[in-house]
C-alpha cells in the first residue's frame, strides 16, 4: 500500500505525460502481482466494484470530529477524500499495525468482510496511514482516483513496456480483467500473449461531429446520407457471445447489472450499437423520459417492480459484428441492410431498429429538427450519417454528424454558491439557481458550474462575496438579486426536486447583470416548456 500511495502522489504532482508514464512503468516493473494489476485497474478505471460506500468515510469522521471544524475544513479544502485524509484524528486506542498490508491484501479484506467488518477495517487503516496514504485508499475505495492520467496513456505505458503498438494493447484490453496477471506475464516475457478471442469485448465507439450548418449541410443528400432521430437516452453497446451478454456505456463501463431484463432477452451472437431507453407503456406506447431512464441507471440491482414499471429497451443504430463476422469495415449501407434483416427476428418488446427519416432536401432536415425541438427534450436532434462510412473508433471527419436542437433558455435567479474543486477551490464557482412560484418564492431548479469565462468567474466570485447571506456548511446563500440566463437540453418533472422539475445538462448561458431578479422566469414558464412530454413514440 505504501508503494501504491507514493506512486499515486508522484503521478498526481507530475505534469508531463511522458514522465507520468515513466513513473507508472517503474512501478509496474518493481511491484509484484497481483498488486500491480490492481493498481493498473485503479488508474485505468477498470476496477468494477467499490471497496466501501462513499458515505462510510464521511460517517466515520463525523463520529470523531467536531462538525463545525469538519465543515470549515471541507469548505477550505474543497474535496471530501482529501479533507478526511488530512483531518483524520488518530484514535488514542487505535489498533497499531507494524506495517501496512499490501494493496491486494487491502482489496481482499474489504471484499471478504461484512458491513461492520468493513467499517472496522477502514478505521484501522486510516488510523495507521499518513495523509497521502489515506487519500490513496479513500480514492481507491470509491473509485474516484484522478491522477491526471488517461486510460489511453496507461495503455501506452504498457505498450512501451512491451515495445508493441498501442493498438495491440487496445485490442487485448477489453478481454482482460483485473488483476491482469496474464497481461503482465506476457509483458515480462514469461507467457504468451493472452487469448481474448472468446471474451465479450467492448469495441471503441464511433462518434459524430456537430454539424456545421454553413459548411456541412451542402454535403448531405438522400443518395449519400441516412438520417435518424438522436434519442435522449444513453448510447450503449450491446455485446453477446452466445453464453453471456453485456451492455457497455459509451465510455466502455460495464453497466450490465442494471439491466438484467434487457440482457435476459438477448439470444444472438454479435455486437450492436444503439440507444438504451425505457418503455413505461410497452412497445407500442411512448418512450420514457431521460428521468425515467435515470431511475434504472441508478439501480445496481433493480427490483422486479421497477423493471416492470420501467422496462429497458434497446433501439439499434448499427451492427459491429454478427455471428463472429466483423462488419466494421463494411460501409454503413451494408451494415444497415444486415441490421434490418437481423432485427426482424428479435422480440419487439426489447428491441427495435432506429427508423430512417425520409428526406429530399435540406428543408426537410430542418423540419425534422424543428419537430425534435418540439419534443420537450425526448429527441435531442438528428443523426446524419454517410452511407459509405466504415465503423471506426473516434470521430472521423465528415462521416457522422449530429444536428442538435437549440438549447432551451430560462432566466433564473442565483440562490446559493459553493466553492469549486481543484484549481477553482478558492472561488465560488458552483451555482444553484431558481424560479419564482405563484406565491413569490424562489424554488431551486438546478445547479451549474460551467458556461462562463475565467474573467466572469472572478466577477461572480466577487459578487457572491459581497452579497452573502446565511451559510449552511459549504453552501453560501446569497441575496436574490442576480439573474442567469440558463441553457439546458431538456427538462423533466421530478418528484425528488422541491420545484418539481429537473433540468438536463444545465449551464450558464449568459450572466444578466442588467436584469432585475423580479423579472426572471416563473416556474409556470418551465411547466409550459415541459408540456406534454410523451408526444413522441
Amino acid at each position: 500500500m505504501e508503494a501504491f500511495a507514493t506512486m499515486l502522489d508522484d503521478l498526481y504532482f507530475t505534469n508531463s505525460n511522458l514522465a507520468k508514464e515513466e513513473i507508472l512503468a517503474n512501478y509496474f516493473r518493481s511491484t509484484p502481482d497481483p498488486d500491480r494489476g490492481w493498481a493498473l485497474a485503479a488508474i485505468a478505471g477498470t476496477l468494477n466494484f467499490d471497496l466501501f460506500k462513499r458515505n462510510l468515510s464521511k460517517s466515520l469522521i463525523a463520529e470523531r470530529m467536531d462538525p463545525e471544524l469538519f465543515a470549515l475544513s471541507y469548505d477550505y479544502v474543497g474535496e471530501l477524500s482529501e479533507t478526511i485524509a488530512l483531518a483524520w484524528p488518530v484514535s488514542e486506542n487505535a489498533v497499531r499495525l507494524n506495517r501496512l498490508p499490501s494493496l491486494s491484501e487491502v482489496i481482499r479484506e474489504f471484499q471478504s468482510r461484512s458491513k461492520q467488518g468493513i467499517r472496522e477495517y477502514l478505521t484501522t487503516m486510516l488510523d495507521n496511514m499518513t495523509p497521502p496514504q489515506r487519500w490513496a485508499l479513500l480514492k481507491l475505495g470509491t473509485r474516484g482516483l484522478r491522477v491526471g492520467m488517461s486510460a489511453r496513456s496507461v495503455k501506452r505505458t504498457l505498450a512501451r513496456m512491451k515495445d508493441v503498438d498501442l493498438e495491440v494493447i487496445e485490442e487485448l484490453w477489453h478481454g482482460l480483467e483485473p488483476p491482469y496477471e496474464g497481461l503482465f506475464a506476457w509483458i515480462d516475457g514469461t507467457a504468451d500473449m493472452p487469448d481474448v478471442s472468446s471474451a465479450i469485448a467492448y469495441l471503441p465507439v464511433m462518434l459524430a461531429h456537430p454539424l456545421d450548418e454553413e459548411k456541412d449541410l451542402e454535403r448531405i443528400s438522400p443518395a449519400t446520407h441516412q438520417v435518424e432521430w438522436k434519442w435522449d437516452g444513453i448510447r450503449v453497446q450491446l455485446a453477446a457471445n452466445g453464453t453471456e451478454a453485456r451492455v457497455f456505456s459509451r465510455t466502455g463501463d460495464d453497466i450490465s447489472r442494471s439491466f438484467p431484463d434487457l440482457l435476459g432477452a438477448v439470444d444472438f451472437v454479435g455486437t450492436l450499437d444503439g440507444e438504451l431507453l425505457v418503455l413505461p407503456e410497452g412497445p407500442d406506447g411512448a418512450v420514457g423520459t431521460f428521468n425515467d431512464l435515470q431511475q434504472r441507471l441508478n439501480k445496481k440491482k433493480p427490483s422486479a417492480g421497477l423493471m416492470q414499471r420501467l422496462p429497458a429497451h434497446f433501439r439499434a443504430y448499427d451492427v459491429l459484428n454478427l455471428e463472429g463476422e466483423n462488419l466494421r469495415p463494411e460501409p454503413l449501407a451494408e451494415r444497415r441492410r444486415r441490421l434490418e434483416d437481423f432485427m426482424d427476428d428479435l422480440d419487439p418488446f426489447r428491441f427495435s431498429i432506429s427508423q430512417l427519416l425520409k428526406f429530399e432536401n435540406v428543408r426537410d432536415l430542418a423540419a425534422f429538427r424543428d419537430e425534435a425541438s418540439a419534443s420537450s427534450g425526448l429527441l435531442e436532434g438528428l443523426m446524419i450519417k454517410d452511407r459509405s462510412s466504415s465503423y471506426v473508433s473516434g470521430r472521423p471527419k465528415h462521416a457522422w454528424y449530429k444536428w442538435k436542437c437549440d438549447p432551451m433558455l430560462l432566466d433564473a435567479v442565483l440562490m446559493y454558491a459553493q466553492r469549486g474543486h481543484g484549481k477553482r477551490s478558492s472561488y465560488y464557482s458552483d451555482y444553484t439557481f431558481g424560479l419564482w412560484n405563484e406565491a413569490g418564492d424562489l424554488l431551486p431548479i438546478g445547479k451549474a458550474y460551467f458556461g462562463f469565462t475565467d474573467e466572469e468567474l472572478k466577477q461572480l466570485d466577487n459578487w457572491v462575496r459581497s452579497h452573502k447571506q446565511q451559510r449552511f456548511g459549504p453552501v453560501q446563500e446569497v441575496k436574490k438579486e442576480l439573474v442567469f440566463e440558463v441553457a439546458f437540453d431538456s427538462a423533466h418533472r421530478s418528484s425528488r426536486h422541491k420545484s418539481g422539475f429537473a433540468l438536463r445538462f444545465p449551464r450558464i448561458h449568459r450572466i444578466r447583470w442588467d436584469k432585475p431578479a423580479s423579472e426572471a422566469n416563473r416556474l409556470s414558464d418551465l411547466e409550459q416548456m415541459v408540456g406534454q412530454n410523451r408526444s413522441h413514440e
Binding site: 498526481y12 504532482f13 507530475t14 505534469n15 470530529m65 467536531d66 463545525e68 471544524l69 469538519f70 470549515l72 475544513s73 477550505y76 479544502v77 474543497g78 474535496e79 482529501e82 479533507t83 488530512l86 483531518a87 484524528p89 499518513t130 495523509p131 474543486h421 481543484g422 484549481k423 477551490s425
Partner: protein, 342 residues
Amino acid sequence: MGTASSAENWMQVRPEGLYCAPADIYIDPHQPVERAAITHGHADHARPGHKSVFATPETLAIMKTRYPDDAPSMKHLLNYGEKTDLAGDVRLWLAPAGHILGSAQVVIEHANQRIVVSGDYKRHSDPTCTPFEVVKTDVFVTEATFALPVFSHPPLGHEIDKLVRSMSLFPDRAHLVGVYSLGKCQRVMLALRQAGYSHPFYLHSALIRLTELYEAHGFDFGEWKPVSDYKGREKEIMRGRIVLAPPSALADRWSRTLPDMLPAMASGWMQIRARARQRRAEMALIISDHADWQDLLQTVDDTGAKDVWITHGRVEALEHALTQKGIRAKALALVGREEDAD
C-alpha cells in the same frame, strides 16, 4: 494577575495595528508610527518608517537589509529576556518565537496583567533560529495561519527526504525549490546539509542578500553560487543539483533556462493538493514556518491563557475550538496581514 476584560482597556486595536495605550507603543504596526515593537523581519510585520523601534538585534539587522534607506531615530536592541521599562508603568520584553532568525514574542506587563503577542511562531524544529519559548500569560495573542485540523506539518526531515529521494530518481534534472527569501530559504539549505547534501546550492539573486546576512550571524550553508554567474550551456552544471528561488520564479521564464527543471515548492500550503497544483509544483514540500493546528492548540494550553486574541489566518476555526475548551477567544480585526505569507 488580572482579567482580560480590563486588558482590553490598555491594549487596543487601532487602524495602525495593535496598540498599548499607556506606553504609546504599537506592535507590528502596518503604518509608520512614533513607537513600535517588531516581532520579526517579514514584510507584513516589519514596516519601514517608524521613529523608534524595539526589536531583537537580528530583526533590526534584517530590517536594515530590507530597507537600507530606512533610519529609525531610535533603535532599542533587546536580547531575548532583557526587560525594558516604558512610560505608563509598562514593562516590555521579548521571548523567542521559533519562526525565523530573530523572531520574538512581545511580552507586555501592565497593571498586574501580562499579554503575550506572539507574532508568527512555530514549534517544529528549525536550525536557523532559537526555539519557541513558552511564557505563562493572561492573554495570548496568536496567529491562525494554519488553523484548521487539516494542517498537520510533518517533521522537517521527512520532507527533506522527499527531495533527496527525487534527486536520486531524477539525477539529470535541476531541482528548483521555491522558497521565501527570509527564513525558509536558509532553513531548507541547513536541513539539506544536515541530510548530507554536499554539492553547492545555486541561488536566485533575490535570495542572496538575506542569505549573506544569516552568514554574518554565524550560519554556515557551505558552498553556494548565484545562478546568474552561469550563462547558457554553463547551467548544465545544475543537473541533479538544488536551485533555490522565490516562489514567483517557479512558473516564470527564468526557470525555463534551467536544465530539465523539476519544480518543487516548500510551504505549509503544500499540504493542500489544489494549492500545490496552482503553484505548478511537481513536488510539494510541506515545510512551514508557522504552527500547525495541534501546535496552536497546544501552545494556548501551555501558556495557561484564559483569553486568546486571534490576529490573522483561519480565525473562525480556532475561535470555535478554543471556545469549546472553555477559553475566551476572539478575533482581532487587524488590517494588512498577508494571507499567503509563509
